[in-house]
């Protein structure tokens, strides 16, 4: 449980500062510091156990389907990082309290900082790969917020965006790598993965997984060639730079290398990729740290260099090298965070970080000078300080490596060069800033920083000295525990001490310090040399690349999405053709093994009529009325086809729908142009005809191939269970209202929504009402035909009776709610046609919207009703009832559901047609609304 506290307390802490106000800064800082302090105490309580070899773990199942568990662990490696994060984090809270200006929104800053701290703690304590990745992404997001904290300036915004783009891309690669590892191992559980090295190394997917994971780690830890984002991220407030970009976030990448070391390390690929990347980064960073003019840029490049060093150590496939890497993580975090804070103090007190303007600050800030000197000496690898110890271990390890075979001497040689450069830039940082004459052109007279601003630096400097003097006493226990967690076998026995006797590593250290002094003295030659290179602004290059990408995608969007419906149709059709055509090409013969049925003359005649009517609809489309009549012929023939092939329900439905469709389109045509202008070019017509012919060919081939092959239908189940299970003999209807009732519920909902949508579309519709047809002939002044009026009126009761009959028998004979609803709707619409809207409006004075909605509600309630009896949604029940005079009747709850279907169909159809009809009169929907 305490593990959960360590992670969640800072998360709670990210809410607390928001309660404090920007004015009462002490209170705000105290509120913020309380939670990580408690978390640190909890961690310290766990520490003795972890150092003794225990690994406290905690796991809750979270999303088992994704393999995501809320699983935490606190082994030695996690402990090392947790102490670093919480310890330095507390110092940063103190530092930021006095660093931030009055205008800065302190609660917001602290909230972001604590959010970051939570996610960082989550990374180091995660016991599940996916969980680790989630926290990993959270650090990218929270660091984006922190870098861009001064969002009114351009540089922080751009720096934040670049950092997010680079680390976010790496995060995606990492996720892919984790998924591959999860597939190889079969689990995302950390311990399972760490125990499966042999399986992972033997798998062919090892290399891609390794590359993806390394991409994630290298982008986060700013390894070459992804180092460019880190210097740009220095636009952040200095506390952020000290915390994220030296002590913690950039360490997430090397942490990942350490965490997955047991699972992924040991191969040649790992050796070369990781150690060489680290070596190159180390040299690259060190060189630029020597050249830069901004104090924070110097420190940023030196951080890149040190991260390279740590990466190289983890890559060397040697146990002691891993221990050295872990030790350097600890040491680098202490001296580099301190150095960043001194840079922040200088910036704060002098108003500039330009090393050319700063000189001789020791006169004004002796304490800060002393602290900066100590920590910079540690960075340079000066004896009696902690940086010296891990740097010497690093040099010793480079001598042992088998990397590069016969050229193995290159590694220690290059490592020594890196150390020379480190000594040189450390010296330059201290001497040029604090000594060497008097300051020039400063905006304000510098003075010593207030004590609270120096206190965190002092604490870290003390750590540097104490660890440097008594390494065995202070660091051995923690390092051994961390190394135990990082290595597959027990860690080698550690002999941390200042003095190992005269040996090669000592000589190399000495060379580094003396060489560093020489390089520093001769630095002007180096600067002259460097000026020959054209200046490269990585931010401009990156922004340029982003803008090119945006232009390219915009071009792609503009090309594909030009606002033309015809163009979209074209793409849809072409892709459908390609997909269907490809699969058709995949089958051997078009004709399957089923025997062909004989075609009777009647069928041939029917097919010819259908084809003719279909083609005529297309060819005569410019004369819209004729085209519409041809369409209705196709609809009627479809109805006959259904009837011919034993589907009476379909035939009835099609017939009824055909009637309402034609009425609808006729009404619409009244308002639309009667003829289509001739505007398609010849080439366009040829293209469309070819496309349509191809499409028709594919559809016909597909249909033929399907018809001549035996089918394996699931319908036998429905046929067998319709009577015993659904209580109905009409299987189609039982499927609709019972077996697949949920689908039907969805469908009537769509119908109802379409009806309401149409009602809204017709609302306040302003249309030109033509008084004559397209040829100038006025519409007939005879209002309504006499014969139709009288016949339809006497037909109405009959039609309604028929619809009730169709509805009632639906469960056992062709019929049902859909068909009955359509018949009712057609009968009522006939009234409108025969007598006009005015007449019908007086007699049917109710709205249709509530009917449709009530239908959906009845159907849904019927489904919910089965919950009352403890059955799943839409379970139907049926039974036989004896009703006097009528006799035995079989009633099913499905009939109630069918009633809902019936009402929806009636309501929706009339809503559409009656409202459209009303547009022609004064009874427009809008006017009614205004009256009401």
């Amino acid at each position: 449980m305490s593990l959960l506290l360590i992670v969640l307390l800072p998360l709670l802490g990210s809410l607390l500062p928001l309660l404090g106000s920007n004015q009462r800064r002490h209170q705000c800082a105290l509120l913020t510091a309380a939670m990580p302090l408690i978390a640190l105490l909890v961690t310290l309580r766990e520490t003795p156990g972890v150092l003794a070899g225990e690994v406290p773990r905690l796991a809750f199942s979270w999303v088992p389907a994704l393999g995501l568990d809320l699983a935490l662990r606190l082994d030695g490696l996690s402990l090392l990082f947790v102490l670093l994060i919480l310890g330095i984090g507390l110092l940063i809270i103190l530092y930021a309290r006095h660093y931030l200006a009055e205008a800065d929104n302190m609660p917001r800053f602290y909230a972001y900082l604590m959010l970051f701290m939570t996610s960082m703690l989550g990374i180091v304590m995660a016991d599940n790969l996916i969980l680790l990745w989630m926290f990993w992404e959270l650090t990218s997001l929270s660091s984006f917020l922190l870098i861009g904290f001064w969002s009114h300036q351009s540089a922080p915004r751009k720096g934040a965006r670049m950092a997010l783009a680079v680390t976010g891309m790496g995060g995606l690669a990492l996720l892919a790598g984790f998924i591959l590892i999860g597939q190889i191992v079969g689990s995302f559980d950390m311990q399972t993965v760490l125990d499966s090295r042999d399986v992972i190394l033997a798998d062919p997917r090892y290399l891609p997984a390794l590359l993806l994971v390394l991409l994630g780690a290298f982008t986060k830890s700013a390894q070459f060639p992804f180092q460019f984002w880190l210097p740009q991220a220095m636009a952040a407030p200095t506390p952020v730079s000290a915390f994220l970009h030296s002590a913690t976030m950039v360490k997430a990448g090397v942490f990942l290398l350490a965490r997955l070391h047991p699972a992924l390390a040991g191969s040649q690929e790992w050796l070369y990729l990781v150690s060489l990347t680290g070596l190159v980064t180390m040299l690259y960073g060190a060189y630029f740290a020597l050249i830069k003019l901004d104090l924070k840029a110097i420190l940023a490049y030196s951080t890149v260099s040190h991260l390279g060093l740590i990466t190289m150590l983890f890559g060397l496939n040697s146990q002691m090298a891993v221990v050295a890497g872990l030790f350097h993580i600890l040491n680098h975090a202490t001296f580099k965070a301190a150095l960043f804070m001194t840079a922040g103090i200088v910036d704060h007190e002098c108003g500039t970080r330009d090393i050319r303007k700063l000189k001789g600050l020791w006169r004004y800030m002796p304490m800060t000078t002393a602290l900066a000197t100590i920590t910079a000496a540690s960075m340079a690898g000066f004896p009696l300080l902690n940086g010296f110890l891990s740097k010497e271990m690093m040099l010793a390890e480079t001598l042992e490596t088998p990397l590069l075979g016969g050229l193995a001497w290159l590694i220690p040689a290059l490592a020594t060069i890196g150390s020379i450069l480190a000594a040189a830039y450390s010296l330059r940082y201290v001497r040029n800033t604090f000594f060497d004459g008097k300051p020039r052109e400063l905006e304000k007279t510098p003075h010593e920083a207030p004590f609270p601003l120096r206190l965190p630096v002092l604490v870290l400097a003390i750590v540097c000295v104490v660890v440097g003097l008594f390494p065995a006493l202070t660091a051995t226990g923690l390092l051994t525990a961390a190394a135990d967690a990082t290595l597959t076998m027990p860690a080698p026995e550690l002999h941390l001490s200042i003095w190992h006797g005269f040996n090669l590593p000592l000589l190399m250290s000495a060379i580094a310090l003396i060489g560093g002094l020489l390089v520093y003295v001769l630095r002007q030659h180096l600067f002259t040399f460097h000026r020959q290179f054209p200046a490269r602004d990585s931010l401009a290059i990156f922004e340029g690349a982003v803008q090119r990408l945006v232009r390219f995608t915009q071009w792609g969007i503009d090309t594909l999405e030009n606002g033309s419906l015809q163009r979209y149709m074209l793409w849809v059709v072409i892709s459908a053709l390609v997909v269907a055509g490809m699969s058709l090409m995949g089958i051997e013969t078009l004709k399957g093994e089923l025997a062909i049925q004989e075609a009777s003359p009647l069928i041939i005649v029917g097919a010819v009529i259908t084809c003719f009517a279909g083609l005529a609809t297309a060819f005569l489309h410019r004369r819209r009325l004729i085209s519409l009549i041809m369409l209705s012929v196709v609809g009627l023939m479809a109805s006959l086809i259904f009837a011919r092939f034993s589907a009476p329900d379909l035939a009835l439905t099609q017939l009824a729908v055909e009637v309402v469709t034609v009425i609808l389109l006729m009404l619409a045509l009244f308002f639309l142009p009667q003829k289509t202008p001739k505007e398609s070019s010849a080439s366009r017509i040829v293209r469309d005809v070819l496309l349509a012919a191809g499409f028709g060919g594919v559809v016909a081939s597909l249909n033929y191939a399907l018809l001549t092959r035996p089918l394996n239908s699931i319908s036998d189940f429905f046929l067998e269970n319709s009577v015993p299970g659904g209580g109905g003999h009409n299987v189609v209807n039982v499927i609709l209202v019972d077996f697949r009732g949920f689908d039907t519920l969805g469908e009537i909902t769509v119908l109802c929504i379409a009806g309401i949508g149409i009602y809204k579309l017709l609302n306040r519709l302003r249309l030109f009402m033509p008084s004559s047809d397209s040829e100038g002939r006025p519409w007939s002044p005879d209002r309504y035909p006499m014969i139709l009026a009288s016949v339809s009126q006497s037909l109405l009761p009959m039609a309604l009776l028929v619809s009730v009959f169709i509805f009632l028998r639906g469960h056992n004979a062709p019929g049902g709610g859909f068909i009955a609803g359509l018949v009712t709707a057609v009968a009522l619409i006939l009234m409108y046609i025969a007598h006009g809207v005015e007449w019908a409006q007086q007699r049917l004075s109710f709205q249709y919207q509530p009917i449709a909605v009530a239908g959906v509600a009845i159907a849904a309630l019927t489904g919910i009703g089965s919950w009352v009896f403890g059955y799943p949604f839409l379970t139907s029940a049926f039974g036989h009832f004896h009703i006097p005079l009528i006799g035995d009747v079989e009633l099913a709850t499905a009939m109630l559901f069918d009633l809902g279907v019936y009402l929806t169909v009636v309501g929706a159809t009339l809503m559409i047609l009656a409202n459209l009809g009303k547009v022609t009169t004064s009874h427009r929907p809008s006017k009614q609304k205004e009256k009401a």
């Binding site: 279909g614 479809a638 239908s713 319709s722």
Partner: protein
Amino acid sequence: MEALFATTTGILAASGLYLALRGRTFPVVVGLTLLSYAVNLFLFSTGGLTTDGSAVIGDGGGEYADPLPQALVLTAIVIGFAMTAFSVILAMRVRGDVGSDHVNGNRVDEPREDKS
């Protein structure tokens, strides 16, 4: 008979698609309706073409026509009507608001061939 049925479906689909590619709303709506007839026939035929089959259980007739595609097509017909209605009324609304019945919303006074 299968070939005949397939040819009919194909011709209906081709005619429907040709109309759907036109530039004015009304032919497009008619085309989509025609296309939906073709699709319904196609879907219906996936259950096989049963002549003189029984429609209901206990009819005493021969084999049963596959009920599943029928159920699917039945709702498809009704939904198809709703969609036809929606698109044609949308077309009317566009004509009322934009003043054009071109699918791309081009103004009437500048009828032009869409460059695609």
